[in-house]
């Protein structure tokens, strides 16, 4: 199982701060986005501006998400 974490506005849009999903080994980050938007349609609003971190490293859409322990949806950051 892979733990999906939602932060900031992503948590508001998904209506939760985390969930567990079973991902096929070959699942890419881009495919996972499609799955997550299907589960929580409001996430579509930030699809174009949010990043995904796979096991705490920023990932592009072609990165492998299957087999990860923890994947975070990272809306535009605003530290400082």
């Amino acid at each position: 199982m892979t733990r999906i974490l939602y932060f900031g506005i992503a948590r508001d849009l998904a209506g939760r701060d985390a969930e567990e999903l079973e991902l096929a080994d070959a699942t890419t980050a881009g495919e996972l986005w499609v799955t997550l938007v299907a589960r929580h349609p409001a996430l579509e609003r930030i699809r174009g501006i949010a990043r995904m971190a796979i096991d705490m490293a920023y990932a592009t859409d072609d990165a492998t998400a299957g087999g990860a322990t923890e994947i975070a949806i990272i809306p535009p950051v605003a530290g400082g």
Binding site: I46, A72, V77, G79, G80
Partner: protein, 141 residues
Amino acid sequence: MIECKVVSTPIDTCALIARVSDERSGATSVFVGTARNTSAERLDGAVTRLEYEAYEPMAERELESIADEAVERFGALHVLVHHRVGVLALGEAAVTVVVSTAHRAAAFDACRFVIEELKKRVPIWKKEVFVDGAEWVNARP
């Protein structure tokens, strides 16, 4: 020394400055980011408080990688970064960056580098709470 922390209690900037005292250091540069009552959205002073949250383990990891780069690029001797999370009243420090180097130019440059990189890539989010609502900063498509 490199120390990068996400903290949930007020930041003691003076205590952080004291910790970078070092015979090799000729310059210490400090940046303190504080909670302000205006924002890009609301220029009318309507912000009443800020709420910060972080993906803490990744935030500390990204900050450490930025601090490592500051050592490599600017010869920083010490880099301390503490970033606050939770509810901040106006005027409170959200982040303090302390950098010490042998000479002043590198201290200024390294300190600026750390805060600019933090703003680009450290997973921390800020919600501005107004007198009449609230909004996550930078979250509009």
